[in-house]
Structure formats: C-alpha cells, structure tokens
C-alpha cells in the first residue's frame, strides 16, 4: 500500500481502503485517486476528512461511482470517499411522507421501499435508478419532472453533512415547513461535494399518482418540435412534464431525425382525458401515441437514460419561450462530432424551464480538436450569457472540460462563493479548482 492508503487503513480498517490499480475505476474526470476509502459511519467520514485537512490531501466525496466523470475536473485527487457502504434506510414514516436514508442508498432501492406504501420520490434525474441519494443531492440532479415537482433542493427536508474539516452538521429536519435559521441545506444541494460529504438525506415523498399517462406528439423538424413543446407547455394545465426529444442522426433510420414532444400527466383519468383534449387542440393534431401506467413511466425512464454512452453532454439554456432558437443554435456544434459515429447527437429539452440537453456520442478528434471545441463552446457560451442564458459542460472529455470550464464565470457572486467554500472547508481540500468552485 502507498503511505497515504496505509495511514487511512490504520484509521479505518484494511478492508475499507483500496489503492493501486483498483482505484482506476474511481477516476474523477480522468484523475485517478491515490486511495479510495469506504467509510461505514459519519464518524469515519469525519475522521478521514479531518485527517485529510491536516495532511492537505485533496478529497472527492462520491457515491457508487457512476457519475464521477461529471462536473469540473479537480486539479488532482488524493482520496476518494465512497458512500457505498452507507446505504441504510434509517427511518421511513409513510404517514408523515418522509424518508431518511444514508447517502449511499440507491435510488432504485428507495423506489422499491416507498412503492410498497403507495409513495414515491418524485424526481427523475438522468442516470436512471442506479444513482445514489447523496450524489443526486450533491449534484442537484433533476429530470423532466422538475416542471411540476421541482429539483432536489425543493424536496430535501434535511441532510447530514460532514464538512471538509470534519465537523458533522445536521441540517434541516423532517418537516416540510421549517424556517428555523438560515437554510444551509440549499447550499449543499448542487454543491458537487465541495462543501463536505453528505452522509444522510431526508426527502419528502409524494403519494404514487393514481394514473400516469404520456402523450407523444410529433413535429416535422427539430425547430417545429421546439415550437410545439413551447405551445404545449404554455397551456394552463397541471402537466407533470413536457419534454422535447430529438433522436440522434444515427438512430433515426436515415433522413432527418424527427422530434417528439412527450407530455406526462399525473392526474386522475378524467382530468387526463380533459388535458388530452386541450393539448390536442393546442397542437392542432392528435397525439401519435398514448401510453398509460408502466408504459408511460417507461418512456420517461428512457429519457433518464439518454445521457448513457454519451461522451459529451452540454446543458444550454435560455428563457423557455426561446427554445426554438436554442435548438437552432445546436447547428453550431456540427464541427464537434461526426453524425455517422455512434448515434450522433441527441437533444432533450425541458420545455418548462428552457434547459436543452445536448448529447454527443463520440467527439471527433482531428488535430487541434481541443482548441476548436474551446472556441465553439466559448462563443456559444458568451452569446447565451449575453441573453441571460448559460452553457454548462455537464460531462465530457477532461481535456475539453478543463479548457472550457464546466460552468461560466460567476461575476460579483464569486467572492461570496469562495467565502462559502472556505466556511465549510477551511483547508480547501474539497475545492474543485478552476472556475468557480
């Protein structure tokens, strides 16, 4: 064992630390950690982090390691902390509609437990059910259902966070309405592990909807699809999700890919019938398909899996009414990939929030590919930012993400962001380097 792993296994136990070749599977954006530790309690997490703070080891908290390639690449990683062995559901009160589970609990396990009691966690983040609860909160991951249920930040009631210097903070509580002091939980949601390691999470649950219906509408071209999606999202109906889906060139059987607009309705059957009538009227056409129950859920499970196998994932955004323009802008990305490689480029947009995900199967790598990507993405980011929008490189070849930076500049908020980071992680062992965190 290397000296670092040696020291860690003295503090924990031999079986809880790996080093050498075994750590490659745990690379963070291509950076292989010197050691991976598997703490079994928040006390052990605190022990590892306070030791690392003293030693100046750079740490990255993780779950089961299914999404370590996302976000801003850290400059280096000494220790990766996996929440894999912390996966107890510690408290579940169906009557009070909350569940407390350790960070390493898998989302599919959570789904299994809650569905037994007619409840669910109304979130459908990318990556499907393999992800873990702690990681979902840490990256603030949400899918199409955010149109109606919000993001993890809106549904988390409490969490335990072990800070960079090993303080154990119990944030929030178990009740839906809670304004006792500053809402530090909001900082933790979407902090990408840069404030500490989340060890336990309390989530709000919802009753399983009595009926689940998805309607698929077809547009002729991608931009038409975007207009249709906007129009449907603007109907005054309580829709659970409106998602524009454009398959990749390589999966549309030749010819231009034709876009679909998938609308999900989680209301009673009577209400869904009425919604379908209003939607068809607004679309000027009937849906090409109506899916009910498990089939309806399945189509949105596919949306969750759309990033699977993508080498580059971008998130572009503008105000929702400008979705057609946003879709059109994706033509500027044509230099970055070859439509004949893999499935090409897929698009998926949340019509209510104006976020367009662009998934590219294989990034082309001619000479100077990194510079070219840097230019293309830089120009696109600037033009979106000038319009109040943004471009996020959600995952991609580390060369590109490092060159472009995952997120745009923060402006005057950067000072506050840095202050917050330092308040939770005084030694700076969790900071991801580069802009902004």
């Amino acid at each position: 064992m290397n000296p670092l792993a040696e020291l860690l296994s003295e503090r924990l136990s031999k079986g809880q630390v790996i080093d050498g070749f075994d750590t490659e599977a745990w690379a963070v954006c291509g950076r292989v950690p010197q050691a991976v530790v598997f703490p079994e309690s928040e006390a052990q997490v605190a022990e590892v982090l306070s030791l690392s703070s003293e030693e100046g080891w750079r740490c990255v908290p993780g779950g089961k390691g299914s999404w370590l390639h996302g976000g801003q690449p850290p400059q280096s990683v000494d220790v990766l902390l996996s929440a894999e062995r912390m996966d107890d559901i510690s408290e579940y009160e169906p009557a009070d509609m909350f569940i407390v589970a350790e960070a390493g609990t898998r989302l599919d396990e959570l789904e299994r437990r809650t569905s037994e009691c007619g409840q669910w966690l109304a979130l459908d983040p990318p990556g499907g059910e393999r992800g873990t609860l702690g990681a979902m909160l840490a990256v603030g991951a949400a899918g199409p259902l955010q149109a109606s249920f919000g993001c993890p930040r809106d549904q988390v009631l409490g969490a335990t966070l072990v800070t960079g210097d090993g303080r154990v903070l119990a944030l929030g509580g178990k009740v839906v309405k809670n304004v006792a002091g500053f809402d530090l939980l909001k900082l933790v949601a979407g902090s990408w592990g840069t404030l500490g390691m989340i060890t336990s999470v309390t989530m709000r649950l919802h009753p399983t909807p009595a009926s689940d219906r998805s309607l698929l509408f077809k547009g002729a071209e991608a931009e038409d699809g975007a207009e249709l999606a906007c129009r449907l999202a603007q109907t005054p109906l309580p829709l659970a999700a409106v998602e524009l889906l454009v398959p990749g060139e390589g999966e549309s059987g030749g010819g231009a890919p034709s876009p679909l607009v998938a609308v999900r309705i989680l209301e009673s059957a009577d209400a869904a019938d009425e919604a379908e009538r209003v939607l068809s009227e607004s679309a000027g056409m009937a849906p090409v398909q109506r899916l009910e129950g498990e089939q309806s859920a399945a189509i949105f499970d596919n949306v969750r899996a759309m990033e699977d196998g993508a080498e580059l994932v971008l998130r572009l955004s503008l105000l929702p009414s400008r979705l057609p323009e946003l879709v059109e802008m994706t033509s500027r990305l044509s230099d970055l990939y070859d439509p004949n490689e893999g499935w090409g480029m897929r698009l998926a947009a949340h019509a209510h929030t104006g976020v367009l995900r662009v998934m590219i199967a294989v990034v082309s790598r001619p000479d100077g590919w990194v510079d070219r990507a840097k230019t293309v993405l830089g120009v696109l980011r600037r033009s979106l930012e000038a319009e109040g929008g943004s471009l996020v490189v959600s995952q991609g070849p580390p060369e590109i993400v490092s060159a472009v930076s995952a997120w745009g500049e923060l402006g005057p908020a950067a000072l506050l962001t840095a202050g917050i980071q330092a308040a939770f992680d005084p030694a700076g062992i969790l900071a991801r380097g580069g802009s902004p965190q």
Partner: protein
C-alpha cells in the same frame, strides 16, 4: 420590553442620506418614527434612529454605502407585518424601508415570470397577473398587506403551500444589495450557474444578509376549477384523523386547514360570525383545485373520509360566494381573536403530521396549567401549528405566564420531531429557542455564512442567531 430612545442622526449624516433619496424620505421625527417601533409581534417595541425610504436599487446601494462608511447598523423593513420582531431596529440602527419600491419591473406571461420591486404587496402581484390567467402561489394570510421582500426574507408560507410549496419554490432571481453597498445578482430563470445556490440561502435569511431590491418570481396558471368543503367535528382529534386519512388516500388537496373550538367561539362572538356551531371542537377546511373534470371525485372521497372520522356535518359550496363563506372562519380567525382579547401572541411551529393530535393535546394542557386561553388555527396538512395565546399586556404576571407557556410549547413541538418555526421566522423572538433545534456546530456554521454576506455583522444585527458562546454580553 423596554424601549430605549436612540441617538438622533447627526445633521451631516442626515444630509448625505437626503441627498440620495430626497428630503421627504429620511424620517427622523419622533412621532413619525412611532409607526416603525414594532411589527406584527407587538410585544417588542424599539424606536429606530431614522427611517430611510429609497426608490431604486441604486439608491439602496448608495444609502448602504453611506451607512456602512459610518458604521451604522441597518434593518430592512417591508410592511412590518412580520410576527417575530425581525424588522425592529436595535440601538443605533437605521431602518431602510421598501415602501416606495412597489413597481412591477417586468411581466412576462409567456414564460410565467414577473420581476418586481421588493415593496410590492403580495396580492398586487396576483392582481397584475390575473388578466393573463396567472397568479402568484404563496398566499400568506397577510397577503393584502405584506410585501414580497418580506416574504422572501421570511420564506413565507400560506394555506395553499400544502400543494404548491412555500416562497423558496417561486423565487428564481434576486438583486441584492449587501451592507457595503455592493450589488449582487443571484439566480435568474433560464440560467444554470456553477456557484452555490446563493438565492436559495438568501431566501429565509430575515434581512441578515442584505436587502433584496429586485425579485424575479415564477407565476402559475390559475387552476380551472376549485372545490371547497368544510367539516365540523366534536373532537379536535377526529379532525386530525380526517386529515391523516385524506392524505393516506393519496389525495393532495390544495389546502387542509383547521380551526379549533376556542377559535370557532371567538369567530362566532365577533363581527365575523360564520355560522359555526359554537359547541363544535374543530372545523376543517379542505380545498381541491385543478382540472375541473377530476375534482368532484376528489371531493367525494374527502367527504367520505371526514364522515368516517366522525364529522357531525360536512358543508360544500355551490357558488363562489358560498365557497368564500366556508373560508370565512379560517380567514378571519386572527381578526376575531383581536376582538375578544387585548393582546394576541401568534405562535408558530411545525410537527410531523402524525403527531398533530398528541401535540395539540399537550398544548391544551399547557394552556390549562398556565391559566391561558390558547386558540389554534393551523395548516394541518403541513403540520404547521399556530397556537394563539390570548392575554393582556398590561398584566405583567400574565405576560410572564405567556412566556412560560410559549417556551413549553416550543419544547413539545421539538420533542415531537418538529421545529420552532414553520413560516414566521426566528427574528428577535425565537433566538432563545434556536438551541432547541440546532447544536453548537450548526449555529456556528450559520454564523460563518452570515459573516460571508455581512462580515461586519451590521445587517439586521441581533436577529436569528443567538449570541455566540464567546461573545458574552453582546447586545440583546
């Protein structure tokens, strides 16, 4: 509480402030300052040193620059309807009020967004959005008086937050001026940032991080239909069971509100009499909204659950007028109590819903033990309680009993797995209960974050956080 008269502003400082906002908008006359000596929690009274009323973000920034150069503490203030003493100015502080910042800056119906100044009254936003078939969802009972800036500072809730969530779900962007006069943009709909959720932590920061000077919020389309029913119960516990059963059905009402026997009797004895039987011990208002076609079935299921739980009577409404009549008792509860007692302390706490009945029983025992009338009005669906303690401020012995009863109520709610405030905030009043729900490390973490936004500690000082353990004798 004792009201210490503050040091007046120096002429020079007054002139500089008048130079920014205009002569009429710096208030220093003792009699005009009286209007600012308390908020909705009238037990505390403090006269501010001065009140400054700027008109724009730029003016707020210049006012704060001047005050911070002079080291003068600042207290933001909206309409002063807060119920935790948050807008009170301590010692030598100056109030910066948003009363003149009431403009609609942009209304974007296509994207269902509005950008407003912080002094806009909550209900005025809904009125402005109405012609477009939209409304602003968070509806505190004080919505015809309170400001959106105050709502953001308190992360306010309201009866319909059961289905729609509280203020933090609707705020999408903020312009904030910090104590040093810096202008910071946070969030912005349609933009994803890699920084922390500054907006999220600002909401609910009770004026301790800065002044929100522009607010962007999400609007919702008005639901097509609304159905309301009112169930009358002989036992409060039965109303609680009805709530549990309705939720267990998988129904999600827009609102589930209870008023208890003492409240019913207060309402019936007042000009707001709503025709409730005065021997009843609870009235439950259940409201559903959404697509018309699905509503009737929901109402039928809820009516059945109420009857099974022992409702003696269930009323439904056939017209908008009748619907409003069903809400009357709930909406006028505070007003009615104001008529039967000289003073009213509106408590606020949340417990897990399944604990409601037990906790209410214990609160009733606390009332008996301290010989106080406690009337409960509450957001039952969220477990958010408002025990109202009726008293007479001129009786110091009774005031002391109110204090003791409040402390015991807080302890009971926390013990049941709840918290010390669900929507009214900590302010001045609940600092002393903070350690019931937060340990020293959590309080320390909050202090550190406060220091990031306000390193000098002069933005709404003496609110929310109890004094740090090592700062014995700091201002109280």
């Amino acid at each position: 509480m004792e009201n210490i008269l503050p040091e007046p502003l120096t002429k020079e400082l007054g002139d500089r402030l008048r130079g920014v906002v205009g002569d009429s908008w710096v208030i220093v006359d003792a009699d005009r300052l009286l209007a600012y000596e308390s908020d909705g929690l009238t037990a505390y009274r403090r006269t501010p040193r001065a009140v400054v009323l700027p008109r724009t973000t730029d003016e707020v920034s210049r006012v704060l620059s001047i005050l911070s150069q002079e080291g003068v503490p600042v207290v933001p203030r909206g309409a002063g309807t807060g119920l935790s003493g948050g807008a009170l100015a301590d010692g030598d502080a100056v109030v910066v009020g948003t009363a003149r910042m009431t403009d609609m800056l942009a209304l974007d119906p296509a994207n269902r967004l509005a950008r407003v100044q912080p002094g806009m009254i909550n209900v005025d936003l809904t009125k402005a959005a109405e012609p477009f078939g939209l409304y602003y969802a968070p509806d505190p009972s004080s919505q015809s008086a309170c400001t959106l800036g105050g709502n953001i500072a308190e992360n306010s809730g309201g009866p319909h937050c059961l289905k729609y969530g509280v203020t933090s779900r609707y705020v999408t962007g903020l312009t904030v001026v910090t104590y040093d006069g810096k202008i910071v943009e946070m969030g912005g709909f349609g933009r994803e940032s890699g920084g922390y959720d500054l907006l999220g932590v600002f909401v609910g920061s009770e004026g301790c991080f800065g002044i929100a000077t522009e607010i962007e919020v999400r609007l919702l389309p008005k639901p097509e239909g609304v159905r309301t029913l009112l169930a009358i119960f002989d036992r409060l516990g039965d109303a609680g069971s009805a709530v549990t059963e309705i939720m267990a059905e998988g129904l999600l009402p827009a609102a589930l509100e209870i008023i208890d026997g003492p409240t019913i009797r207060a309402v019936e004895a007042s000009v707001f009499a709503a025709g409730f039987p005065t021997d009843a011990e609870a009235a439950l208002v259940v409201e559903f909204d959404g697509i018309e076609a699905g509503l009737e079935a929901d109402v039928e299921r809820a009516v059945a659950r109420c009857r099974e739980a022992g409702a003696r009577e269930v009323r439904t409404a056939d017209s908008e007028e009748e619907r409003l009549a069903l809400w009357q008792g709930r909406k006028k509860a505070f007003g009615a109590m104001g008529q039967i007692a000289s003073d009213l302390l509106v408590q606020d706490a949340t417990v897990p819903r399944s604990q409601l009945t037990d906790v209410l029983e214990r609160i009733s025992e606390i009332g008996v033990r301290h010989d106080l009338t406690i009337a409960n009005v509450f957001h039952a669906g969220d477990g958010n309680l408002h025990p109202n303690l009726l008293f007479d401020r001129s009786d110091p012995e009774e005031v002391a009993r109110v204090e003791r009863a409040s402390t015991e109520i807080m302890a009971v709610c926390v013990e049941a797995g709840g918290t010390i405030t669900g929507e009214h905030g900590v302010g001045l009043d609940k600092r002393r209960y903070m350690s019931l729900v937060h340990g020293p490390d959590e309080l320390d973490a909050m202090r550190r974050i406060k220091a990031v936004f306000d390193p000098l500690g002069r933005m709404n000082p003496g609110k929310v956080l109890p004094d740090a353990p090592d700062s014995a004798g700091a201002a109280t």
